[in-house]
Amino acid sequence: MNFAPKAVILLAVLGLAACNNPDKYGSGNGVVDPGGVYGGGDGSVSQGSISDPNSPAYFNATVGDMVHFVVDQSTLNDEARNILMGQAKWLNAHGKYSAIIEGHADEQGTREYNLALGARRASAVQEFLISQGVSASRLRTVSYGKERPLAVCSSEDCYSKNRRAVTVISLGAGS
Protein backbone atom coordinates (compact mmCIF):
# COMPACT_ATOMS: atom_id res chain seq x y z
CA MET A 1 0.00 0.00 0.00
CA ASN A 2 1.04 3.48 -0.53
CA PHE A 3 1.19 5.43 2.68
CA ALA A 4 3.02 8.45 1.40
CA PRO A 5 2.08 11.15 3.90
CA LYS A 6 0.40 14.19 2.53
CA ALA A 7 2.55 17.10 3.44
CA VAL A 8 0.46 19.86 4.87
CA ILE A 9 2.38 23.02 5.34
CA LEU A 10 1.30 25.92 7.42
CA LEU A 11 0.42 28.76 5.17
CA ALA A 12 2.64 31.54 6.31
CA VAL A 13 1.31 34.55 4.52
CA LEU A 14 -2.08 35.37 3.12
CA GLY A 15 -2.67 38.20 0.76
CA LEU A 16 -3.44 41.40 2.59
CA ALA A 17 -6.96 42.63 2.56
CA ALA A 18 -7.88 44.75 -0.37
CA CYS A 19 -7.87 48.47 0.15
CA ASN A 20 -11.62 48.82 0.15
CA ASN A 21 -12.06 46.16 2.78
CA PRO A 22 -15.11 47.28 4.75
CA ASP A 23 -14.95 45.02 7.82
CA LYS A 24 -16.19 47.56 10.29
CA TYR A 25 -19.08 45.52 11.60
CA GLY A 26 -21.11 48.59 12.31
CA SER A 27 -19.26 49.67 15.37
CA GLY A 28 -21.37 52.82 15.52
CA ASN A 29 -20.83 55.91 17.66
CA GLY A 30 -17.93 56.98 15.55
CA VAL A 31 -15.75 54.16 16.84
CA VAL A 32 -14.31 52.31 13.94
CA ASP A 33 -12.04 49.32 14.21
CA PRO A 34 -8.79 51.02 13.21
CA GLY A 35 -7.47 48.33 10.94
CA GLY A 36 -6.71 45.97 13.74
CA VAL A 37 -6.91 42.25 13.25
CA TYR A 38 -9.51 42.44 10.54
CA GLY A 39 -7.99 45.64 9.41
CA GLY A 40 -9.10 47.13 6.17
CA GLY A 41 -6.07 49.34 6.26
CA ASP A 42 -6.26 51.93 3.53
CA GLY A 43 -10.05 52.01 3.45
CA SER A 44 -10.25 53.38 6.97
CA VAL A 45 -11.42 56.95 6.92
CA SER A 46 -10.46 59.69 9.26
CA GLN A 47 -13.63 59.92 11.32
CA GLY A 48 -13.32 63.55 12.34
CA SER A 49 -15.32 65.07 15.16
CA ILE A 50 -18.89 64.20 16.06
CA SER A 51 -19.64 67.92 16.29
CA ASP A 52 -18.54 68.48 12.68
CA PRO A 53 -21.60 67.83 10.48
CA ASN A 54 -19.27 67.11 7.56
CA SER A 55 -17.49 64.24 9.32
CA PRO A 56 -18.13 60.50 9.08
CA ALA A 57 -18.21 60.56 12.88
CA TYR A 58 -21.23 62.86 12.71
CA PHE A 59 -22.81 60.58 10.11
CA ASN A 60 -22.35 57.56 12.35
CA ALA A 61 -23.52 59.15 15.58
CA THR A 62 -26.04 61.81 14.59
CA VAL A 63 -27.45 60.83 11.21
CA GLY A 64 -27.30 57.20 12.29
CA ASP A 65 -25.33 54.59 10.39
CA MET A 66 -27.53 51.64 11.28
CA VAL A 67 -31.03 50.28 10.67
CA HIS A 68 -32.62 47.16 12.14
CA PHE A 69 -34.85 44.37 10.89
CA VAL A 70 -37.30 41.85 12.26
CA VAL A 71 -36.53 38.13 12.29
CA ASP A 72 -35.78 36.67 8.86
CA GLN A 73 -36.95 39.85 7.10
CA SER A 74 -35.33 42.56 5.01
CA THR A 75 -38.24 45.00 5.00
CA LEU A 76 -37.49 48.59 6.01
CA ASN A 77 -39.85 49.94 8.65
CA ASP A 78 -40.69 53.63 9.12
CA GLU A 79 -37.91 54.19 11.62
CA ALA A 80 -35.39 52.66 9.22
CA ARG A 81 -36.70 54.76 6.34
CA ASN A 82 -36.31 57.93 8.39
CA ILE A 83 -32.72 57.09 9.23
CA LEU A 84 -31.97 56.19 5.60
CA MET A 85 -33.50 59.46 4.36
CA GLY A 86 -31.03 61.20 6.65
CA GLN A 87 -28.21 59.07 5.31
CA ALA A 88 -29.17 59.86 1.73
CA LYS A 89 -29.32 63.56 2.48
CA TRP A 90 -25.87 63.46 4.06
CA LEU A 91 -24.38 61.38 1.23
CA ASN A 92 -25.93 63.69 -1.38
CA ALA A 93 -24.31 66.65 0.37
CA HIS A 94 -20.91 64.97 0.75
CA GLY A 95 -19.99 63.72 -2.69
CA LYS A 96 -16.40 62.92 -1.82
CA TYR A 97 -17.53 59.94 0.21
CA SER A 98 -18.89 56.61 -0.87
CA ALA A 99 -20.31 53.87 1.32
CA ILE A 100 -20.26 50.16 1.85
CA ILE A 101 -23.48 48.79 3.30
CA GLU A 102 -22.95 45.79 5.55
CA GLY A 103 -25.81 43.36 6.10
CA HIS A 104 -25.89 41.24 9.25
CA ALA A 105 -28.06 38.51 10.73
CA ASP A 106 -28.53 37.23 14.26
CA GLU A 107 -27.23 33.81 15.25
CA GLN A 108 -30.59 32.07 14.89
CA GLY A 109 -30.00 30.74 11.42
CA THR A 110 -27.70 28.55 9.40
CA ARG A 111 -24.45 30.10 8.26
CA GLU A 112 -24.88 30.25 4.51
CA TYR A 113 -28.54 31.22 4.63
CA ASN A 114 -27.62 34.07 6.97
CA LEU A 115 -25.02 35.28 4.47
CA ALA A 116 -27.74 35.48 1.85
CA LEU A 117 -30.15 37.10 4.33
CA GLY A 118 -27.56 39.75 5.24
CA ALA A 119 -27.14 40.47 1.53
CA ARG A 120 -30.88 40.99 1.20
CA ARG A 121 -30.82 43.51 4.04
CA ALA A 122 -27.82 45.39 2.66
CA SER A 123 -29.45 45.47 -0.73
CA ALA A 124 -32.73 46.82 0.69
CA VAL A 125 -30.77 49.72 2.18
CA GLN A 126 -28.83 50.26 -1.05
CA GLU A 127 -32.02 50.39 -3.12
CA PHE A 128 -33.61 52.85 -0.73
CA LEU A 129 -30.57 55.15 -0.78
CA ILE A 130 -30.57 55.03 -4.60
CA SER A 131 -34.29 55.91 -4.58
CA GLN A 132 -33.31 58.96 -2.52
CA GLY A 133 -30.90 60.15 -5.16
CA VAL A 134 -27.60 58.60 -4.08
CA SER A 135 -25.65 57.42 -7.10
CA ALA A 136 -25.49 53.64 -7.35
CA SER A 137 -21.80 53.88 -8.18
CA ARG A 138 -21.10 55.21 -4.66
CA LEU A 139 -22.71 52.25 -2.90
CA ARG A 140 -21.50 48.70 -2.47
CA THR A 141 -22.96 45.94 -0.35
CA VAL A 142 -21.43 43.13 1.64
CA SER A 143 -22.92 40.55 3.96
CA TYR A 144 -21.35 39.17 7.10
CA GLY A 145 -24.24 36.84 7.86
CA LYS A 146 -24.03 35.92 11.54
CA GLU A 147 -20.25 36.21 11.67
CA ARG A 148 -19.98 39.61 13.33
CA PRO A 149 -22.61 40.14 16.02
CA LEU A 150 -22.64 43.53 17.71
CA ALA A 151 -24.20 42.18 20.90
CA VAL A 152 -23.17 38.78 22.20
CA CYS A 153 -25.99 37.55 24.44
CA SER A 154 -28.31 34.84 23.18
CA SER A 155 -31.67 36.52 23.66
CA GLU A 156 -33.91 38.85 21.69
CA ASP A 157 -32.28 41.90 23.36
CA CYS A 158 -29.11 41.13 21.49
CA TYR A 159 -30.63 39.49 18.41
CA SER A 160 -32.61 42.65 17.63
CA LYS A 161 -29.39 44.68 17.70
CA ASN A 162 -27.61 42.19 15.45
CA ARG A 163 -30.24 42.08 12.69
CA ARG A 164 -28.88 45.22 11.10
CA ALA A 165 -27.51 46.97 8.07
CA VAL A 166 -24.70 49.43 8.64
CA THR A 167 -23.68 52.15 6.23
CA VAL A 168 -19.90 52.48 6.48
CA ILE A 169 -18.52 55.70 5.02
CA SER A 170 -15.36 55.50 2.99
CA LEU A 171 -13.36 58.01 1.00
CA GLY A 172 -13.83 58.20 -2.73
CA ALA A 173 -16.65 59.19 -5.01
CA GLY A 174 -17.29 55.63 -6.09
CA SER A 175 -16.40 53.60 -9.10
Binding site: K6, V8, L11, T110, E112, L115, A116, L117, C153, S154
Partner: protein
Protein backbone atom coordinates in the same frame (compact mmCIF):
# COMPACT_ATOMS: atom_id res chain seq x y z
CA UNK B 1 -28.10 -7.27 17.73
CA UNK B 2 -25.42 -9.73 16.75
CA UNK B 3 -26.29 -12.39 14.28
CA UNK B 4 -24.41 -15.67 14.36
CA UNK B 5 -24.62 -17.86 11.30
CA UNK B 6 -23.68 -21.50 11.62
CA UNK B 7 -21.99 -21.83 8.29
CA UNK B 8 -18.24 -21.96 8.43
CA UNK B 9 -16.60 -18.91 6.97
CA UNK B 10 -14.46 -19.36 3.95
CA UNK B 11 -11.21 -17.49 4.28
CA UNK B 12 -11.06 -14.59 1.89
CA UNK B 13 -8.13 -12.85 0.44
CA UNK B 14 -8.76 -9.29 1.38
CA UNK B 15 -7.19 -6.46 -0.47
CA UNK B 16 -6.34 -3.38 1.56
CA UNK B 17 -8.92 -0.67 1.50
CA UNK B 18 -11.46 -2.80 -0.35
CA UNK B 19 -15.08 -2.55 0.68
CA UNK B 20 -15.97 -5.85 2.23
CA UNK B 21 -19.31 -7.51 2.13
CA UNK B 22 -18.89 -11.03 3.45
CA UNK B 23 -20.95 -12.22 6.35
CA UNK B 24 -19.59 -14.70 8.83
CA UNK B 25 -20.26 -16.14 12.20
CA UNK B 26 -18.94 -12.97 13.83
CA UNK B 27 -21.15 -10.21 12.50
CA UNK B 28 -22.89 -7.05 13.59
CA UNK B 29 -25.93 -6.05 11.60
CA UNK B 30 -25.79 -2.28 12.05
CA UNK B 31 -29.23 -1.65 10.60
CA UNK B 32 -30.81 -3.58 13.45
CA UNK B 33 -29.64 -0.92 15.87
CA UNK B 34 -26.81 -2.02 18.11
CA UNK B 35 -27.58 -1.28 21.73
CA UNK B 36 -25.17 -3.65 23.44
CA UNK B 37 -21.67 -3.24 21.98
CA UNK B 38 -19.78 -6.35 20.92
CA UNK B 39 -17.10 -7.31 23.46
CA UNK B 40 -13.69 -7.88 21.91
CA UNK B 41 -10.16 -8.46 23.14
CA UNK B 42 -7.11 -6.74 21.74
CA UNK B 43 -3.90 -7.63 23.58
CA UNK B 44 -1.43 -4.80 23.03
CA UNK B 45 0.29 -5.64 19.75
CA UNK B 46 3.54 -7.61 20.08
CA UNK B 47 6.70 -5.59 19.49
CA UNK B 48 8.62 -7.71 16.99
CA UNK B 49 11.74 -5.59 16.88
CA UNK B 50 13.69 -3.86 19.59
CA UNK B 51 12.37 -0.35 20.12
CA UNK B 52 8.96 -1.07 18.61
CA UNK B 53 7.12 -1.48 21.90
CA UNK B 54 6.05 2.15 22.26
CA UNK B 55 4.81 2.20 18.66
CA UNK B 56 3.00 -1.11 19.22
CA UNK B 57 1.27 0.31 22.31
CA UNK B 58 0.25 3.51 20.51
CA UNK B 59 -1.10 1.67 17.49
CA UNK B 60 -3.08 -0.68 19.75
CA UNK B 61 -4.51 2.34 21.56
CA UNK B 62 -5.68 4.04 18.38
CA UNK B 63 -7.29 0.84 17.07
CA UNK B 64 -9.14 0.50 20.38
CA UNK B 65 -10.24 4.14 20.29
CA UNK B 66 -11.53 3.70 16.73
CA UNK B 67 -13.49 0.54 17.46
CA UNK B 68 -14.85 1.54 20.87
CA UNK B 69 -15.61 5.03 19.58
CA UNK B 70 -18.23 3.65 17.18
CA UNK B 71 -20.36 2.46 20.08
CA UNK B 72 -20.60 -0.88 18.25
CA UNK B 73 -17.65 -2.50 20.04
CA UNK B 74 -16.42 -2.66 23.62
CA UNK B 75 -12.88 -3.58 24.54
CA UNK B 76 -12.53 -6.05 27.39
CA UNK B 77 -9.79 -4.61 29.64
CA UNK B 78 -6.40 -6.14 29.10
CA UNK B 79 -5.96 -7.15 32.76
CA UNK B 80 -8.81 -9.65 32.33
CA UNK B 81 -6.98 -11.58 29.60
CA UNK B 82 -5.95 -15.17 30.43
CA UNK B 83 -3.70 -15.82 27.43
CA UNK B 84 -0.56 -13.80 26.73
CA UNK B 85 0.98 -13.48 23.27
CA UNK B 86 4.75 -13.59 23.30
CA UNK B 87 4.75 -13.74 19.53
CA UNK B 88 2.38 -12.79 16.72
CA UNK B 89 2.26 -16.51 15.82
CA UNK B 90 1.39 -17.86 19.27
CA UNK B 91 -1.53 -20.26 18.71
CA UNK B 92 -4.84 -18.89 19.99
CA UNK B 93 -6.30 -20.63 23.01
CA UNK B 94 -9.97 -20.03 22.19
CA UNK B 95 -11.19 -21.35 25.55
CA UNK B 96 -9.24 -18.60 27.33
CA UNK B 97 -11.08 -15.96 25.31
CA UNK B 98 -14.47 -17.62 25.56
CA UNK B 99 -13.95 -17.66 29.34
CA UNK B 100 -13.92 -13.86 29.43
CA UNK B 101 -16.78 -13.57 26.93
CA UNK B 102 -14.73 -12.04 24.15
CA UNK B 103 -16.52 -12.52 20.86
CA UNK B 104 -13.70 -11.19 18.72
CA UNK B 105 -9.96 -11.32 19.29
CA UNK B 106 -7.45 -9.15 17.49
CA UNK B 107 -3.80 -10.17 17.61
CA UNK B 108 -1.11 -8.03 16.07
CA UNK B 109 2.58 -7.43 15.76
CA UNK B 110 4.55 -4.27 15.09
CA UNK B 111 8.10 -3.96 13.82
CA UNK B 112 10.14 -0.90 13.01
CA UNK B 113 13.14 -1.01 10.74
CA UNK B 114 14.66 0.85 7.85
CA UNK B 115 12.48 3.92 8.39
CA UNK B 116 9.28 1.87 8.13
CA UNK B 117 6.64 0.72 10.55
CA UNK B 118 5.11 -2.65 9.70
CA UNK B 119 1.88 -3.83 11.31
CA UNK B 120 0.54 -7.37 11.04
CA UNK B 121 -2.77 -8.48 12.47
CA UNK B 122 -5.25 -11.31 12.57
CA UNK B 123 -8.91 -11.25 13.56
CA UNK B 124 -10.37 -14.31 15.31
CA UNK B 125 -13.98 -15.33 15.80
CA UNK B 126 -13.70 -16.67 19.33
CA UNK B 127 -16.92 -18.69 19.42
CA UNK B 128 -16.34 -20.28 16.03
CA UNK B 129 -12.76 -21.18 16.98
CA UNK B 130 -11.39 -19.77 13.78
CA UNK B 131 -9.72 -16.88 12.12
CA UNK B 132 -11.99 -14.38 10.37
CA UNK B 133 -10.44 -13.41 7.05
CA UNK B 134 -6.75 -13.59 6.25
CA UNK B 135 -4.05 -11.94 8.22
CA UNK B 136 -2.87 -8.64 6.78
CA UNK B 137 0.31 -6.67 6.78
CA UNK B 138 0.55 -2.92 6.29
CA UNK B 139 3.58 -0.67 6.16
CA UNK B 140 4.08 3.09 6.42
CA UNK B 141 6.60 5.70 7.36
CA UNK B 142 6.80 6.31 11.13
CA UNK B 143 4.99 9.68 10.95
CA UNK B 144 1.99 7.92 9.37
CA UNK B 145 1.62 5.40 12.18
CA UNK B 146 -1.86 6.65 13.06
CA UNK B 147 -3.01 5.94 9.53
CA UNK B 148 -1.73 2.36 9.93
CA UNK B 149 -3.82 1.97 13.06
CA UNK B 150 -6.89 3.47 11.35
CA UNK B 151 -6.40 1.12 8.37
CA UNK B 152 -6.31 -1.91 10.68
CA UNK B 153 -9.42 -0.70 12.50
CA UNK B 154 -11.18 -0.11 9.17
CA UNK B 155 -10.50 -3.72 8.10
CA UNK B 156 -11.75 -5.09 11.43
CA UNK B 157 -14.86 -2.90 11.34
CA UNK B 158 -15.47 -3.95 7.79
CA UNK B 159 -15.07 -7.69 8.42
CA UNK B 160 -17.46 -7.64 11.36
CA UNK B 161 -20.10 -5.26 10.02
CA UNK B 162 -19.88 -6.05 6.31
CA UNK B 163 -19.62 -2.32 5.57
CA UNK B 164 -16.62 -0.18 4.75
CA UNK B 165 -15.08 1.73 7.63
CA UNK B 166 -14.41 5.44 8.10
CA UNK B 167 -11.40 5.70 10.41
CA UNK B 168 -8.69 6.46 7.84
CA UNK B 169 -10.25 9.77 6.87
CA UNK B 170 -9.79 13.45 7.56
CA UNK B 171 -11.98 16.43 8.30
CA UNK B 172 -11.53 19.97 7.03
CA UNK B 173 -13.14 22.56 9.31
CA UNK B 174 -12.95 26.10 10.61
CA UNK B 175 -10.89 26.52 13.76
CA UNK B 176 -12.33 29.26 15.97
CA UNK B 177 -10.87 31.39 18.74
CA UNK B 178 -11.46 34.75 20.35
CA UNK B 179 -14.60 36.46 21.63
CA UNK B 180 -17.94 36.04 19.91
CA UNK B 181 -18.00 39.53 18.33
CA UNK B 182 -14.40 39.31 17.10
CA UNK B 183 -14.08 35.66 16.37
CA UNK B 184 -10.93 34.53 14.60
CA UNK B 185 -11.41 31.83 12.00
CA UNK B 186 -8.89 29.74 10.17
CA UNK B 187 -9.11 26.74 7.93
CA UNK B 188 -7.76 23.53 9.45
CA UNK B 189 -7.51 19.83 8.66
CA UNK B 190 -7.42 17.01 11.18
CA UNK B 191 -7.78 13.25 11.27
CA UNK B 192 -11.40 12.18 11.78
CA UNK B 193 -10.66 11.64 15.49
CA UNK B 194 -9.21 15.13 16.06
CA UNK B 195 -5.53 14.15 15.86
CA UNK B 196 -2.91 15.76 13.60
CA UNK B 197 -4.38 19.24 13.31
CA UNK B 198 -2.84 21.31 10.51
CA UNK B 199 -3.79 24.90 9.78
CA UNK B 200 -4.26 25.88 6.14
CA UNK B 201 -4.81 29.61 6.60
CA UNK B 202 -3.96 32.19 9.20
CA UNK B 203 -6.71 34.04 11.04
CA UNK B 204 -6.40 37.37 9.21
CA UNK B 205 -9.76 36.99 7.49
CA UNK B 206 -13.08 35.20 7.92
CA UNK B 207 -13.27 31.76 6.27
CA UNK B 208 -16.41 29.64 6.10
CA UNK B 209 -17.80 26.23 5.18
CA UNK B 210 -14.96 24.32 3.47
CA UNK B 211 -15.65 21.21 1.35
CA UNK B 212 -13.31 18.47 0.10
CA UNK B 213 -13.08 17.46 -3.53
CA UNK B 214 -14.21 13.87 -4.13
CA UNK B 215 -10.61 12.68 -3.97
CA UNK B 216 -9.74 14.84 -0.96
CA UNK B 217 -6.87 16.65 -2.66
CA UNK B 218 -8.59 20.02 -3.05
CA UNK B 219 -10.76 22.20 -0.83
CA UNK B 220 -13.39 24.77 -1.73
CA UNK B 221 -14.28 27.42 0.83
CA UNK B 222 -15.57 30.94 1.27
CA UNK B 223 -13.14 33.68 2.25
CA UNK B 224 -13.49 37.38 3.04
CA UNK B 225 -9.88 38.09 2.07
CA UNK B 226 -10.94 40.67 -0.54
CA UNK B 227 -13.38 42.20 1.95
CA UNK B 228 -16.28 40.41 0.29
CA UNK B 229 -17.32 36.74 0.30
CA UNK B 230 -15.48 34.94 -2.48
CA UNK B 231 -14.88 31.30 -3.28
CA UNK B 232 -11.36 29.95 -3.09
CA UNK B 233 -10.03 26.65 -4.38
CA UNK B 234 -7.09 25.29 -2.41
CA UNK B 235 -4.71 22.49 -3.24
CA UNK B 236 -4.25 20.53 -0.01
CA UNK B 237 -0.82 19.21 -0.94
CA UNK B 238 0.96 22.53 -1.24
CA UNK B 239 -1.66 24.76 0.43
CA UNK B 240 -1.80 27.04 -2.56
CA UNK B 241 -5.10 28.61 -3.44
CA UNK B 242 -6.78 30.72 -6.06
CA UNK B 243 -9.94 32.80 -5.98
CA UNK B 244 -12.52 31.64 -8.49
CA UNK B 245 -13.55 34.22 -11.08
CA UNK B 246 -16.69 36.19 -10.32
CA UNK B 247 -18.90 38.92 -11.65
CA UNK B 248 -17.92 42.28 -10.09
CA UNK B 249 -20.35 43.54 -7.47
CA UNK B 250 -21.59 40.07 -6.55
CA UNK B 251 -20.96 37.80 -3.58
CA UNK B 252 -20.19 34.12 -4.12
CA UNK B 253 -20.30 31.46 -1.41
CA UNK B 254 -21.54 27.97 -0.51
CA UNK B 255 -19.35 26.11 -3.06
CA UNK B 256 -19.57 22.32 -3.53
CA UNK B 257 -17.81 19.91 -5.88
CA UNK B 258 -19.71 17.58 -8.15
CA UNK B 259 -18.99 13.87 -7.41
CA UNK B 260 -16.64 13.67 -10.43
CA UNK B 261 -14.78 16.78 -9.25
CA UNK B 262 -15.30 18.41 -12.62
CA UNK B 263 -17.72 21.14 -11.69
CA UNK B 264 -18.55 23.44 -8.81
CA UNK B 265 -22.02 24.48 -7.73
CA UNK B 266 -22.31 27.59 -5.59
CA UNK B 267 -24.47 30.51 -4.54
CA UNK B 268 -24.15 33.85 -6.28
CA UNK B 269 -25.75 36.96 -4.81
CA UNK B 270 -26.59 39.90 -7.02
CA UNK B 271 -28.72 42.90 -5.98
CA UNK B 272 -29.74 41.08 -2.81
CA UNK B 273 -30.95 37.94 -4.57
CA UNK B 274 -29.12 34.63 -4.15
CA UNK B 275 -29.34 31.86 -6.76
CA UNK B 276 -27.43 28.66 -7.52
CA UNK B 277 -24.88 28.62 -10.33
CA UNK B 278 -22.50 26.05 -11.72
CA UNK B 279 -19.04 26.43 -13.21
CA UNK B 280 -16.44 24.04 -14.51
CA UNK B 281 -13.62 23.41 -12.03
CA UNK B 282 -11.23 24.07 -14.90
CA UNK B 283 -12.72 27.43 -15.89
CA UNK B 284 -15.30 28.56 -18.41
CA UNK B 285 -18.52 30.50 -18.27
CA UNK B 286 -20.83 29.81 -15.32
CA UNK B 287 -24.38 28.62 -15.95
CA UNK B 288 -27.39 29.53 -13.87
CA UNK B 289 -29.28 26.68 -12.17
CA UNK B 290 -32.05 28.53 -10.33
CA UNK B 291 -33.80 31.78 -11.15
CA UNK B 292 -36.13 32.94 -8.42
CA UNK B 293 -36.37 35.98 -6.15
CA UNK B 294 -35.85 33.64 -3.15
CA UNK B 295 -32.62 32.61 -1.45
CA UNK B 296 -31.21 29.42 -2.97
CA UNK B 297 -28.11 28.07 -1.25
CA UNK B 298 -26.41 25.07 0.44
CA UNK B 299 -26.43 22.73 -2.59
CA UNK B 300 -25.35 19.09 -2.40
CA UNK B 301 -25.02 16.60 -5.25
CA UNK B 302 -26.44 13.09 -5.23
CA UNK B 303 -23.53 10.59 -5.30
CA UNK B 304 -24.30 9.71 -8.94
CA UNK B 305 -24.10 13.39 -9.88
CA UNK B 306 -27.55 13.47 -11.48
CA UNK B 307 -29.40 15.62 -8.93
CA UNK B 308 -28.82 18.46 -6.49
CA UNK B 309 -30.56 18.97 -3.15
CA UNK B 310 -30.57 22.55 -1.89
CA UNK B 311 -32.45 24.92 0.40
CA UNK B 312 -34.73 27.71 -0.72
CA UNK B 313 -37.09 30.09 1.05
CA UNK B 314 -39.32 30.44 -2.03
CA UNK B 315 -42.26 29.10 -0.01
CA UNK B 316 -41.66 31.61 2.81
CA UNK B 317 -39.21 29.80 5.09
CA UNK B 318 -36.20 27.63 4.33
CA UNK B 319 -37.20 24.25 2.87
CA UNK B 320 -35.39 21.49 0.99
CA UNK B 321 -35.72 20.95 -2.76
CA UNK B 322 -34.23 18.56 -5.31
CA UNK B 323 -33.59 19.49 -8.94
CA UNK B 324 -31.73 17.92 -11.89
CA UNK B 325 -27.99 18.67 -11.76
CA UNK B 326 -28.28 20.86 -14.84
CA UNK B 327 -31.08 22.94 -13.34
CA UNK B 328 -34.80 22.67 -13.94
CA UNK B 329 -37.99 22.51 -11.95
CA UNK B 330 -37.24 21.60 -8.33
CA UNK B 331 -39.36 19.29 -6.19
CA UNK B 332 -39.89 20.22 -2.57
CA UNK B 333 -39.11 17.34 -0.20
CA UNK B 334 -39.40 18.83 3.32
CA UNK B 335 -42.86 19.48 4.72
CA UNK B 336 -42.52 19.28 8.51
CA UNK B 337 -42.96 22.15 10.95
CA UNK B 338 -40.10 24.62 11.08
CA UNK B 339 -37.30 25.50 8.70
CA UNK B 340 -34.96 23.09 6.93
CA UNK B 341 -31.48 24.00 5.69
CA UNK B 342 -27.98 22.72 4.84
CA UNK B 343 -29.06 19.48 3.14
CA UNK B 344 -26.26 16.97 2.49
CA UNK B 345 -26.77 13.87 0.38
CA UNK B 346 -25.42 10.70 2.02
CA UNK B 347 -22.55 8.86 0.30
CA UNK B 348 -24.84 5.80 0.09
CA UNK B 349 -27.35 7.91 -1.82
CA UNK B 350 -30.35 6.89 0.25
CA UNK B 351 -30.65 9.73 2.75
CA UNK B 352 -30.31 13.46 3.19
CA UNK B 353 -29.00 14.99 6.39
CA UNK B 354 -30.16 18.49 7.27
CA UNK B 355 -30.37 21.23 9.89
CA UNK B 356 -33.84 21.91 11.20
CA UNK B 357 -35.02 24.93 13.20
CA UNK B 358 -38.24 24.77 15.15
CA UNK B 359 -39.48 26.26 18.38
CA UNK B 360 -36.27 28.21 18.95
CA UNK B 361 -34.15 25.02 18.84
CA UNK B 362 -31.87 23.50 16.23
CA UNK B 363 -31.81 19.86 15.21
CA UNK B 364 -29.69 17.61 13.01
CA UNK B 365 -31.85 15.10 11.20
CA UNK B 366 -32.04 12.69 8.30
CA UNK B 367 -34.77 11.88 5.81
CA UNK B 368 -35.17 9.72 2.72
CA UNK B 369 -34.53 11.51 -0.55
CA UNK B 370 -38.31 11.80 -1.10
CA UNK B 371 -38.66 13.52 2.27
CA UNK B 372 -40.18 10.52 4.03
CA UNK B 373 -39.02 8.90 7.28
CA UNK B 374 -37.70 12.11 8.82
CA UNK B 375 -35.80 11.43 12.03
CA UNK B 376 -34.20 14.05 14.27
CA UNK B 377 -30.91 12.83 15.74
CA UNK B 378 -29.84 15.78 17.90
CA UNK B 379 -31.32 18.84 19.54
CA UNK B 380 -29.69 21.85 21.14
CA UNK B 381 -29.54 25.62 21.28
CA UNK B 382 -27.70 25.58 17.95
CA UNK B 383 -26.74 22.48 15.95
CA UNK B 384 -25.98 22.94 12.26
CA UNK B 385 -24.04 21.85 9.21
CA UNK B 386 -24.07 18.02 9.06
CA UNK B 387 -21.40 16.12 7.10
CA UNK B 388 -21.39 12.36 6.44
CA UNK B 389 -18.71 9.85 7.32
CA UNK B 390 -17.41 8.13 4.16
CA UNK B 391 -19.55 5.06 4.88
CA UNK B 392 -22.72 7.03 5.62
CA UNK B 393 -23.05 5.72 9.18
CA UNK B 394 -21.99 8.75 11.23
CA UNK B 395 -22.73 12.46 10.99
CA UNK B 396 -20.41 15.20 12.21
CA UNK B 397 -21.83 18.67 12.86
CA UNK B 398 -21.29 22.02 14.61
CA UNK B 399 -22.79 22.60 18.05
CA UNK B 400 -22.67 26.13 19.40
CA UNK B 401 -23.35 27.00 23.03
CA UNK B 402 -25.38 30.11 23.88
CA UNK B 403 -24.44 33.41 25.47
CA UNK B 404 -21.56 35.84 25.51
CA UNK B 405 -19.10 33.06 26.30
CA UNK B 406 -20.65 30.67 23.80
CA UNK B 407 -18.51 28.80 21.33
CA UNK B 408 -18.66 26.20 18.59
CA UNK B 409 -17.43 22.63 18.82
CA UNK B 410 -17.64 19.56 16.61
CA UNK B 411 -19.71 16.54 17.53
CA UNK B 412 -20.54 13.21 15.92
CA UNK B 413 -23.72 11.17 16.15
CA UNK B 414 -24.53 7.75 14.76
CA UNK B 415 -27.42 7.84 12.28
CA UNK B 416 -29.28 5.59 14.70
CA UNK B 417 -29.32 8.67 16.96
CA UNK B 418 -26.90 7.07 19.46
CA UNK B 419 -23.33 7.70 20.48
CA UNK B 420 -23.22 11.51 20.59
CA UNK B 421 -19.57 12.48 21.06
CA UNK B 422 -17.43 15.59 21.00
CA UNK B 423 -14.61 15.39 18.45
CA UNK B 424 -11.06 15.95 19.63
CA UNK B 425 -9.86 18.23 22.37
CA UNK B 426 -9.05 21.24 20.27
CA UNK B 427 -10.61 24.62 21.00
CA UNK B 428 -13.46 26.11 19.01
CA UNK B 429 -14.35 24.48 15.72
CA UNK B 430 -17.18 24.71 13.19
CA UNK B 431 -18.26 23.80 9.65
CA UNK B 432 -16.77 20.29 9.41
CA UNK B 433 -16.57 18.46 6.08
CA UNK B 434 -15.57 14.81 6.06
CA UNK B 435 -13.12 13.53 3.43
CA UNK B 436 -13.60 10.30 1.53
CA UNK B 437 -11.82 7.25 2.91
CA UNK B 438 -8.14 7.80 2.13
CA UNK B 439 -6.50 5.54 -0.47
Amino acid sequence: MFRFALAALAALMIGPGAALAQQGPLHIEIDEGVIEPLPYALPSFVAETGGASEMAAQISQVINADLSGTGLFRQIPENAYLQRFSSFDTPVSYADWQAINAQALIVGGVSTSGGKVVVKFRLFDVYSNQQLGDGQQLAASPQSWRRLAHKVADVIYSRITGESGYFDSRVVYVSESGPKDKRLKRLAIMDYDGANVNYLTDSSTIVLAPRFSPTGDRILYTTFETGFPRIKLMNVGNVSGQLLPEVPGTMTFSPRFSPDGGSIVYSLEQNGNTDLWKMSASGGAPTRLTNSPAIETAPSFSPDGSRIVFESDRSGGQQLYIMPAGGGEPTRISYGDGRYGTPVWSPRGDMIAFTKQAGGRFFIGVMRTDGSEERLLTASFLDEGPTWSPNGRVIMFTRESPGAGGGAQLFTIDISGRNLKKVGNAGGASDPAWSPLLP
